[in-house]
C-alpha cells in the first residue's frame, strides 16, 4: 500500500499495519501525532528544542518497538503522549533536581506585582508562559499542558501521567492558580 494511501486510514488500521512491520504506516502515525507530541515535550522540558526533539524521537522508537503492547485501552494519541511524558520526566530527573512537593514549590512561585505593557505579541506571551511553566512542578505542568493545550480529558491525562483522575484534578487546580498568578503581571 503506498504511503500516501495511509492518509485516510484510521488509527486502528495504521496500528495493525505498523505492528506487522509496515514503516510507511508508522510514518503516518508519526506525522499525525508528532507535532502535538513535540509541542507538549517542548513546554514540558523547559522550552529546549534539542531536548524536546530527543524526547519525541525516543518516544516514537519505543512505540515502534512495543506496538504489540498497545491494546487499545486508551486512544493511540494518549498512549503516545504517555511515552513522551515518561521520557520527558526521565530526562528532567536526570538533568536537574525537580521539586516533588507541590506545596513546597507553591511557596517559591512569585506572585505578579508589576504591570508591563498590555499589548504584547504572542511570542512574548508564550515566552512568559514558558517561564511560568518552568516554575511549576512537572506534574502540575504536565497536567495543565495536556488539559489546556492538548485538549485531553481527565481520564486520558491520568492514563498518560500514570496517576489517578483525582490527582490530575489536584495538579490542574494548583497549576492553574499558579499560572494565573504568574501571568497576571501581563494584564
Amino acid at each position: 500500500m503506498p504511503a500516501a494511501a495511509f492518509d485516510a486510514a484510521s488509527d486502528g488500521a495504521l496500528v495493525r499495519a505498523a505492528r506487522l512491520g509496515d514503516d510507511d504506516a508508522f510514518g503516518e502515525i508519526v506525522d499525525r501525532y508528532g507535532p502535538g507530541m513535540l509541542r507538549y515535550a517542548r513546554r514540558l522540558v523547559n522550552g529546549s528544542d534539542a531536548d524536546a526533539g530527543e524526547v519525541v524521537q525516543e518516544a516514537f522508537i519505543s512505540a515502534w518497538k512495543s506496538l504489540d503492547s498497545f491494546r487499545g485501552e486508551s486512544s493511540l494519541k494518549t498512549w503516545l503522549i504517555r511515552l513522551v511524558h515518561r521520557r520527558a520526566v526521565d530526562l528532567l530527573r536526570h538533568r536537574r533536581p525537580t521539586p516533588i512537593d507541590d506545596d513546597l514549590l507553591s511557596r517559591v512561585v512569585r506572585v505578579a506585582d508589576d504591570n508591563p505593557l498590555q499589548d504584547v505579541l504572542d511570542s512574548e506571551l508564550l515566552g512568559a508562559l514558558q517561564e511560568a511553566l518552568d516554575e511549576l512542578p512537572w506534574n502540575q505542568r504536565s497536567a495543565w499542558l495536556l488539559r489546556e493545550v492538548e485538549g485531553l480529558g481527565y481520564d486520558e491525562i491520568a492514563h498518560a501521567m500514570g496517576t489517578t483522575v483525582g490527582s490530575v484534578r489536584g495538579h490542574l487546580h494548583r497549576g492553574r492558580r499558579q499560572l494565573a498568578e504568574r501571568m497576571a503581571r501581563w494584564r
Binding site: 488500521a13 508508522f26 518497538k65 493545550v149 501571568m183
Partner: protein
C-alpha cells in the same frame, strides 16, 4: 458568537494551542530514519526444495531468508482487498531453521464470509511461503478471525 480571550493566561494558552513546531519536519525525518534503521528481532529461515531437502547443491549449500522478509511479503499479499487484513502474524521456526507453522489473526469487513476469508488467506499465505522458501516449505497455517470492522479493513 465566540468570546475572544482577554486574560493574559487565556491569550497565551490560545497561542500555545495554535503553535505549530517549526522544526517538526526535521524531527519527523529523524524519527523515520531511526525507525528504518531499527532492526526488529528476526530469524533466518532455510529454503527447502521440492524434495524436502535444504541442500541447494551437491555441496549441501543452504539458502536462508530472513523472517522479516517473509513477514513483509505475507503482509503485502494480504493487503490487496478491502475485505480482510492481517492483525498479527507469527512464524514458528524450529531449531533446524525450518518454518513449521504460520499463525495469523485476521480482521474482516462486516458481511464477509469469514470461513471463506480464512480459506483465501491460507491460500495466499501458502503461495507466498512456497515462493519465498521453496516448494518443500508447507507449514500449517492457522487463522483466527479476531475482529470485524465496518468498511475497508485497510482504512478502518
Amino acid at each position: 458568537m465566540a468570546m475572544s480571550p482577554t486574560g493574559p493566561l487565556e491569550r497565551a494558552t490560545d497561542a500555545a494551542r495554535a503553535e505549530q513546531p517549526e522544526d517538526w519536519q526535521t524531527v519527523s525525518a529523524a524519527v523515520k530514519r531511526r525507525v528504518r534503521a531499527t532492526v526488529l528481532p528476526a530469524r533466518q529461515i532455510a529454503v527447502v526444495g521440492a524434495d524436502g531437502s535444504t541442500a541447494q547443491d551437491a555441496l549441501g549449500s543452504r539458502t536462508y531468508v530472513s523472517s522479516r522478509v517473509v513477514r513483509a511479503r505475507i503482509r503485502e499479499a494480504l493487503r490487496t482487498g478491502p475485505d480482510l487484513g492481517a492483525e498479527r502474524l507469527d512464524l514458528t521456526i524450529d531449531d533446524d531453521d525450518l518454518l513449521t507453522r504460520v499463525e495469523i489473526e485476521l480482521v474482516c469487513a462486516y458481511g464477509t464470509d469469514v470461513r471463506a476469508a480464512a480459506d483465501l488467506t491460507r491460500t495466499i499465505v501458502e503461495a507466498v511461503v512456497v515462493d519465498a522458501l521453496g516448494a518443500g516449505t508447507r507449514p500449517p497455517v492457522d487463522i483466527t478471525v479476531t475482529d470485524v470492522v465496518e468498511g475497508d479493513v485497510r482504512l478502518t
